[in-house]
């Protein structure tokens, strides 16, 4: 079981889903707080699901309020960075760049990719935490 956990974790890093910030999180875990990483990850996915939904609604409305979109993405990027979600972070950066130049199509395209990366990470981390139990 330990080996399984180690393998999942290694592949998450090798494939670039997670970066060294995730290791910083693991260092905060100890006997008194044995589930810290999972708790924080749960909080992250709850938070980011809300942000994704907000962004989706904003985009569906058709009128691109780039300021507002950028604001959402600023938060999203922040927590993604804090959790070590490397690929998601990259998409956030790209999205913000498209907001900055007012490129609506770029935003839509990037957002689609972002959701994909986010969903993949979620699944993989769920596997990881499950295997760690």
């Amino acid at each position: 079981m330990q080996r399984q956990v180690a393998l999942i974790k290694q592949s998450l890093f090798d494939q670039g889903y997670l970066d060294e910030q995730f290791i910083e999180l693991e260092e905060l875990q100890d006997d008194a707080n044995p589930n810290f990483v999972e708790e924080v990850a749960t909080l992250y996915f709850k938070d980011s699901a809300r942000l994704i939904s907000n962004i989706e609604q904003a985009l569906e409305r058709g009128s691109f309020d780039f300021n507002r979109l950028d604001n959402y993405m600023h938060q999203f990027k922040g927590s993604s960075t804090s959790i070590g979600a490397s690929k998601v972070k990259t998409e956030c950066t790209m999205f913000r760049e498209y907001c900055r130049v007012g490129n609506a199509e770029g935003c839509l395209r990037t957002f689609k990719q972002l959701k994909k990366e986010h969903a993949t990470l979620r699944k993989k981390l769920e596997q990881y935490f499950q295997a760690s139990k």
């Binding site: 910083e24 260092e27 100890d30 707080n33 909080l43 938070d47 600023h74 927590s79 804090s82």
Partner: protein, 223 residues
């Protein structure tokens, strides 16, 4: 037993994001600090007892609530760490309010931000922030806080109760405080394995420069 081992540092952490509050809380706990988190600058001021009731934008929040009333009297805050970007009162606004207050201006304030904006950073430092941390804040960043928190603790101890620090007294006492700071920091260091050896070495060197101090290996640690 040194003062540091008897009472922990207490940090007030301010961030509007629940996720970030959880992060900073754990980081601070891991650094052996007691933490109180609030989600806004105005709540922070309320907790400190700085906020007037007519400023309250929450009709249900009263500064006569037991928690708030007792907090300012019973808890000694050694550091305020706050996010910069918050709705309503920004971290910068909070910093200004704290530094404008006679009672609390000596509390060190640290600003955190996920954005690296040099103008923002210098503005905060000029206003009196001790440090500016880029998010995500790391454990290593927090080791920079100990010296700042140590200063207020020692200052409080050298003050008579209910007296404000007079500038002349500060100046006279500063060499003494400095020596004590290094000594106390060394003691606390020995209980914190996470601090790097480099820092320990620097401490050793500082202690050994011409002051009459016990030798490093004679200092007892209480665990």
């Amino acid at each position: 037993m040194g003062v540091v081992t008897e009472s922990q540092f207490h940090v007030l952490a301010v961030d509007d994001s629940l996720f970030d509050r959880k992060m900073i809380e754990r980081l601070l706990q891991k650094s052996s600090c007691q933490v109180t988190t609030v989600d806004s600058g105005s709540k922070a001021l309320e907790l400190l007892g700085l906020r007037e009731s007519n400023e309250s934008d929450d009709p249900n929040a009263t500064s006569t609530s037991p928690f708030v009333c007792n907090f300012a009297q019973e808890v000694e805050i050694n550091l305020i760490i706050t996010d910069y970007c918050m709705p309503g009162m920004t971290g910068y606004d909070l910093l200004k309010r704290v530094k404008e207050s006679a009672a609390f201006r000596s509390i060190p304030v640290v600003i955190m931000s996920s954005e690296n904006v040099p103008a923002r950073i210098s503005r905060c430092l000029e206003e009196g922030a001790e440090e500016f941390f880029l998010k995500p804040v790391k454990l290593a960043d927090l080791t920079k806080l100990k010296p700042h928190m140590m200063k207020t603790k020692l200052k409080k101890e050298s003050e008579k109760p209910a007296e404000e620090v007079k500038p002349e007294i500060e100046e006279e006492e500063s060499p003494v405080i400095e020596i004590l700071t290094l000594h106390q920091e060394l003691e606390s260091e020995q209980q914190e394995p996470m601090l790097s050896n480099n820092k320990r070495k620097a401490m050793e060197e500082a202690i050994s420069t011409g002051r009459s101090r016990p030798k490093y290996n004679d200092i007892t640690t209480s665990v």
